[in-house]
Symmetry: C2
Subunit: 530 residues, 2 copies
């Protein structure tokens, strides 16, 4: 790999020479030699890290599985604290100074914080991961359980079968997958960071930067207490760059860095019929049906192309800059392949690409519930119907302003809005009643792509990657980057490592083992970036 | 009561006399005397039955509770057979000859059939009840469980508190309620029939008719095997009238008879997005969202007044006859009171009354499910969304023709219809895919209201009721009367006894104890009708 790169640099210098820019020639050669030397050092690190990994795959997986076996719902404080305890031990084992950053209320998941100083280093990176996972329906996992990790020969969709856990000495295939809640989101980067540190230390390679670790325990619950914790511990959190170790790499397998995340705010909308469910024969089509009302309300939010028709929904969007547009233009277009794989032929968005859509605010219905379907179904007029909606935000959007627009839209459909279940008096006064509860949410955040330290990190990721690294102005997903930025004043970027088809947030979450291996090389490269 | 009635008859004879119809005078007086004698006999029976009931309330409740304690989902064949066994014993104890009418497949709930002949009786009545109950969510019962009956001082909505089961000698308030699955629908009429027989026997009063008992075990599952069982045992089922002992009395407390039931057919509709749930940040508003698609589809089925806009939906409706229209005109109008009590101000139907609406076919959404709401919610684009729909049918409607109209409507919205989950090939071919599964359903049935034996039964119910008995051409609810009629050729009517606010089909089902007591008098009167 190194040879190929040096050759490319040499070709570059020749090209410049031939175009007649003679004055530049020696400068270009000098720079090329410098880059070649740096490249050589980085390649050496990469190979050393790889050798370490190959010799220690079982140990790394063992540590991963140990961490995955602890349930990690943000609301389950007992297990959350078991996770935090184990992570503290795991950091300390690597010489990291740790502490738990606690909220004033002990039922709030603590942040596991760690610090590893490098003598003489001038730059400090914070590596952010979260150790909590999304809620999940245990009964919908295929042949395994969320917190009983198993290894499969491939993804379930590709016919992967469960294997006995490989014993020391047995070879491990990079295409195998580990299935468990948080296997990809977001415990794998944690274990990858640990392995990267171990690999550097085993090879006596010093990091070039100071490292801080910030492992959050309630990201999947919407980080409701993160601001409080950051405010309380702001002095610990200063850094030259926060790196979010979360999210998937590109669908086509190319490595990826992102410079921002969308914000998010959620709303739950309940509409009301009678004050109790009624026999559909005796009362159906006379008593108001909230399932029908909700369908009409939800359908009113978008046009036939999936464009959100809530007034002002797209008003605040800050346009992308030159660098961002260029990076987007250079991003691989993969929509057709993805559509084939995901099994649909007509995307939402009236012809806009996935890349275009994730740079716009979105309105997604993530849940509908009214009455019963399937084996539980009953011939009733339901009493209520509920929809869950998440709205992703781009730069310029404000969560509460977006919520207010949604509420205004619902009012325009004739609804009186309440914040708790209506009593008989409220019911007697209004013919259409909707309860809306919303999260606080947080804004989107974007770091300028031309920031020098950001460029260094991109170079580090590139040097540990075989193909061209994709640069995304923003991730489609959300992360509390705006909160980090508010309390630390640091720029923010993200370096994801996991496969895109990881069933993140859904049942049967998994990570492809080769993505762990590649991730170790990427993060070792970042820790030793030039 | 008897006195009041005789006085009324006397007034009637005087009135006729005064209008100058002298020839009629003696005839009217003779008839009046005959009716008065009959009335006297009926009133005597009523009082005797009441005395028996007052002396045996604890015993009756005990038997009721014993029956309610056995789980009774049609799919739970072990418990269904326990119910059938107990019912057989309870019938035999009353001298009824019993047998189980079995389907060829032993996993089908049997009909508990019984016969009690009356020497010299010319007419035979079949008394139909069902002993299975609707599925229920145990966790949503307040302070009790579906099959652990409790007694409350009133309805939960009216603040009723759970009481210890009254011991012999302790008085029982008629406003108390028994809470359990099937407490009203439909085990209470069964126990009422038993008590009516006991009360007659204790008072040495002979029934005037032959009685057959037909207790079905899978009505709430849509009676899928009832036709088979009836075909197999058609010779047993001949009668002069089938009486369905099911459904509630009028909301205002007036006793009620009905001459038909609506038919029913159900459809479950699933629409598809991607072949798996996707992260709403990375894919939302690009991947198709089935929750949004389903909302649009469901919303397309009705106009703003709740009128079904599925083409031809109201086409086959047979208009009501003169007697039916007259009975409807005489029915109490109770809509405003009901709306107040049920907590809504604007009914569906664009101004049509509840009575008008239940004489039309209906389309009711009884369930919506996609992704997750509430504590389980996740930021996903769901993979599927499902709606459950029940359609009630009136005379003239055919279940499968109505289903075909619904399917045609769904096709018109652009959907390709499948009957199982689509594979990748189907997904690649069609942009909108909908899986539709439907029940067989059954037609509506109506007995002409002027049939002589029907009039006799109305008179029997009237003689055991204090206020005017409401005559409904059809019940809003469904019962397989059309199947009974097809296999027996008998006319059909229904005599309900339970309170309307019984949470039938929902959680916290209950029956008001006074309704049981009144029911015993009504059925004793029918068994001894003149």
């Amino acid at each position: 790999m190194l040879f190929k790169k040096s050759k490319k640099l040499l070709l570059l210098s020749r090209l410049r020479y031939r175009t007649g820019r003679i004055r530049c020639r020696w400068v270009v050669v000098a720079i090329s030699l410098f880059i070649a030397t740096a490249s050589f050092a980085q390649e050496k690190t990469r190979l050393a890290v790889r050798s370490y990994r190959i010799a220690n795959e079982h140990k790394i997986l063992q540590e991963f599985v140990e961490l995955l076996a602890i349930p990690n719902l943000a609301g389950d404080i007992v297990n959350i604290r078991r996770n935090a305890g184990l992570l503290t031990q795991m950091l300390q084992k690597r010489g990291v100074q740790t502490r738990l950053l606690e909220h004033d209320r002990p039922e709030v998941p603590p942040v596991v914080f760690g610090e590893l100083k490098t003598p003489g280093a001038k730059e400090t990176l914070v590596l952010y991961c979260h150790y909590d996972g999304q809620p999940t329906d245990s009964s919908r996992w295929v042949e395994s359980k969320p917190w009983q990790p198993v290894i499969r020969t491939n993804s379930i969709e590709a016919g992967g079968k469960i294997l006995p856990f490989p014993r020391t000495g047995e070879s491990i295939d990079g295409n195998w997958r580990v299935y468990a809640r948080a296997a990809s989101d977001d415990k794998s980067p944690i274990v990858v960071l640990f392995a990267a540190m171990d690999a550097l230390r085993a090879n006596k390679i010093q990091p070039t930067v100071n490292l801080k670790f910030f492992f959050e325990g309630e990201e999947e619950a919407g980080s409701p207490n993160l601001s409080d914790i950051m405010r309380k511990h702001a002095d610990l959190l200063k850094a030259d760059m926060w790196i979010t170790c979360d999210g998937p790499i590109h669908q086509n397998g190319q490595k990826l860095v992102f410079f921002g995340c969308r914000g998010i705010v959620s709303a739950e909308i309940t509409v009301y019929g009678s004050n109790r469910a009624l026999h559909s024969g005796h009362y159906g089509n006379w008593a108001p049906n909230p399932a029908m009302m909700l369908s009409e309300l939800v359908a009113s939010m978008k046009d036939e192309n999936g464009r959100v028709v809530v007034d002002g929904f797209y008003n605040d969007v800050e346009p992308l800059g030159e660098f961002e547009n260029q990076a987007l233009a250079e991003s691989p277009v993969y929509d057709q392949t993805l559509m084939r794989e995901l099994g649909f032929t007509k995307p939402e968005g009236g012809g806009k690409s996935l890349n275009e859509q994730i740079n716009l605010p979105s309105l997604n219905v993530s849940g509908l519930l009214s009455g019963y379907v399937g084996a539980q179904s009953r011939t009733l007029v339901p009493a209520t119907a509920t929809a869950r909606i998440d709205m992703r935000l781009v730069k310029g959007n404000d969560p509460q302003r977006q919520v207010e627009r949604l509420k205004e839209h619902i009012r325009k459909q004739g609804y009186f809005i309440v914040d708790k279940d209506p009593d008989q008096e409220t019911r007697a006064r209004y013919s259409l009643i909707s309860k809306i509860t919303t999260s606080d949410g947080y804004k989107a955040f974007r770091t300028p792509m031309n920031l020098p330290i950001a460029q260094k990190i991109v170079a580090a990721v590139q040097s540990a990657s075989d193909g061209k690294v994709v640069r995304m102005p923003t991730l489609g997903g959300s992360g509390p980057l705006s909160i980090f930025a508010e309390f630390t004043g640091s720029p923010q970027m993200g370096v994801p490592i996991v496969n895109y088809d990881n069933n993140q947030h859904s049942e049967n979450e998994n990570v492809r083992i080769q993505n762990l291996w590649d991730g170790i090389e990427i993060y070792a490269s970042i820790m030793t970036m030039k």
